[in-house]
């Protein structure tokens, strides 16, 4: 136990350094990359004065160190990420407003991916070289080779257009539905809080295709991981002894699965962090209106402060998730102690 608290303390101490690195990265990405965003925003036909004006507004007319200092100062003293170049709203507000939507999508999508992927992996390793294995491998091959946005379009065509089970891809709820009162910002949660069961059904209905898209695309990671770890575990002495003690096959697979737990949880964490940006395309396909879609819009419009703010927030979020991940892994596996 002593070792663990020590290691955790060490990690916590590392955080300020990491935060600084993320801030610098977000800054550097926008300010040190070649090319002048002002030129792009202004367009080819703009006069020099117009470009200079945009530069001044973006702050790109000042030297880099000065800009960096200003950026960091604003971040820490005013706790501000700046304002959007186009909407003039604070970036922070833009992000927090959309964050819950993306969170909902990512959580549901990952949940689906974990369940489906682990099921595939387990079948695959338990029935090695028999038909469930073949079926599972085929699923993995297919889902990992179809880009998520194309998978989304295929699902829209088949399940919305042909079969008609899913609603049109117009966002969280129907175009004519009145959104629930905003409490958490997450539509599904808010309908729950409002006890609006009809709307809850609608929300789930609209979430179906994007969630399935993410679940299918990311299931291959979990399928491969569980398959690899479980195959090893099912052949281990531990499992043989468990069987020799007369434990049921279900229990035996459970024993083996516990070994797969840590890598699966690790993958969940990594993908969770990656999906806040990674779900952007799927959000766009389904007009989800979350963080990712907003960021893509910002990139298309070259809303420099917004891009910067997005990178920073996603980076910090990733840090946070990784820290939590470390803690969870320690809690899950009694052997890990970080000496």
């Amino acid at each position: 136990m002593r070792y663990r608290t020590g290691a955790i303390a060490k990690r916590l101490l590392f955080i300020p350094v990491a935060v600084f690195i993320v801030i610098t990265l977000a800054f550097g990405l926008v300010n040190l990359t070649p090319g002048d965003p002002a030129l792009v925003i202004a367009g080819d036909l703009a006069a020099d004065e117009q470009v200079a004006e945009i530069r001044a507004e973006l702050g790109t007319d000042k030297p880099v160190p000065q800009r960096y200092a200003a950026y960091v100062r604003e971040l820490f003293t005013e706790r501000s990420l700046g304002t959007s170049f186009f909407t003039k709203r604070p970036i922070w507000d833009e992000i927090t407003q959309r964050f819950p939507d993306t969170l909902e999508l990512v959580v549901l999508g990952l949940l689906g991916a974990v369940l489906y992927g682990s099921l595939l992996g387990t079948l695959s390793s338990y029935f090695r070289r028999r038909w469930p294995d073949t079926l599972s491998r085929t699923s993995v091959t297919i889902t990992q080779s179809i880009p998520d946005f194309f998978m989304g379009l295929l699902l829209i065509y088949v399940i919305f257009y042909i079969i008609g089970w899913a609603p049109a891809p117009v966002g969280r709820i129907g175009l004519l539905d009145r959104p629930p009162d905003r409490v958490t910002g997450a539509v599904i949660l808010d309908t729950l809080i409002a006890r609006d069961w009809g709307l809850l059904k609608t929300a789930f209905h609209h979430a179906m295709l994007p969630v399935v898209t993410l679940a299918l695309f990311y299931s291959s990671h979990f399928a491969k991981t569980t398959r690899a770890v479980l195959s090893r575990a099912l052949n281990s002495d531990q499992v043989e002894f468990a069987r020799a003690c007369g434990l049921s096959e279900l229990r035996v697979v459970g024993y083996a699965f516990r070994e797969a737990r840590t890598p699966v949880v690790t993958y969940i964490g990594i993908l969770f962090a990656a999906l806040f940006g990674g779900a952007a395309i799927v959000e766009t396909v389904f007009a989800w209106g979350g963080l990712g879609q907003w960021a893509i819009d910002a990139m298309l419009k070259l809303d420099v402060p917004a891009i910067q703010g997005f990178i920073l927030v996603v980076g910090l979020l990733t840090l946070l998730v990784y820290l939590l991940l470390d803690l969870i892994v320690v809690a899950l596996d009694p052997r890990v102690s970080y000496e």
Binding site: T33, P37, F150, L153, A168, G277, G278, A295, M299
Partner: protein
């Protein structure tokens, strides 16, 4: 001298397990090629990629891929337009194949660039010094970033020139090569034939370049194939979002984007065929990666 030779001969592994040696990476590759022919999946994957690439440049296309036919928009597949047309009147069939001219070379160039950067960095970081540990820590941080979005942001900010797209792809793929080459080199350096080479007085650089590096080629090739598959997805994603390649240039992502506006109303063919092409290409690259892994004996089972 002769004594040293003898000792060396003993230290060296037997011929059969002799790893590829110095400057003769060609031999390693030839061995790989022989193995490849014996492996069905690898051959198929390789041939498919080659065919798609060749078709992109040399196949006679029924219509001009970047010249729309305004009088025939959104036509379903028929004898005239085999894969139908999109809402601008572009022939989907011609464009699907013409897209390979841009998408595949960009993917391959990005991958090559990341290998070219990744191998030296990986070799350099393969000593167990504190510095290399720190570099790896930094790499961890970098990799923990959502790289796909980072690539999008980079292309958006720097402008969507081919060069920038290639850079972005290289950037997201570099860490995996650094990591791979480093871990391979760390293992190889412990092996006996490297010890033997060091024992006869080969310099550090020479050992690295002529003994360690050639022996990482197989696994690097497998990883490169996966990276290329990933690059295809990144390019398609970029173009799909309108950040990457822009119309009228043909690119699978652009085509899927154009078709995405019609899919909810049933005109499936505009998006479907380019999407299917992406699928086939990625499967082919994955087959190559899988095959190489098997041929060099690194497959899991």
């Amino acid at each position: 001298m002769s004594k040293a030779r003898l000792a060396l001969a003993k230290a060296l592994p037997k011929r059969a397990e002799m790893p590829a040696e110095g400057g003769r990476a060609g031999r390693a590759l030839r061995a790989l090629a022989r193995g490849a022919l014996a492996h069905k999946g690898l051959t198929i994957g390789f041939v498919v990629i080659l065919l798609i690439l060749l078709a992109g440049f040399f196949a006679p296309l029924p219509h001009d891929p970047i010249q729309p036919n305004p009088e025939s928009t959104l036509q379903s597949p028929d004898g005239e337009f085999w894969f139908g047309t999109d809402r601008f009147g572009f022939d989907v069939f011609s464009r699907v194949f013409a897209s390979a001219r841009l998408d595949l070379p960009i993917a391959l160039a990005g991958t090559l660039l990341s290998i070219a950067v990744g191998i030296p960095l990986g070799l350099a970081a393969s000593n167990k010094s504190r510095w290399s540990e720190r570099i790896m820590r930094g790499l961890d941080m970098f990799q923990s970033f959502p790289l796909l979005v980072l690539a999008f942001a980079i292309v958006a900010l720097t402008g969507n020139t081919l060069r920038n797209i290639i850079f972005a792809i290289a950037l997201v793929n570099v860490p995996r090569f650094i990591r791979l080459v480093r871990s391979e080199a760390l293992v190889l350096r412990e092996s006996r034939f490297i010890e033997a080479a060091t024992a006869i007085g080969a310099s550090r650089t020479r050992v690295m370049l002529r003994h360690v590096m050639p022996n990482t080629m197989g696994i690097v090739l497998a990883q490169a194939s996966l990276a290329a598959a990933h690059a295809i997805i990144v390019i398609a994603g970029l173009s799909f979002l309108g950040i990457g390649i822009t119309p009228p240039d043909a690119s699978w992502g652009v085509m899927i984007r154009v078709g995405s506006q019609n899919i909810a109303t049933g005109q499936w063919w505009v998006s479907f065929f380019p999407g299917a092409m992406v699928f086939v290409t990625i499967v082919a690259f994955n087959m190559v990666a899988d095959g190489v892994t098997r041929v060099i004996g690194r497959a899991e089972d």
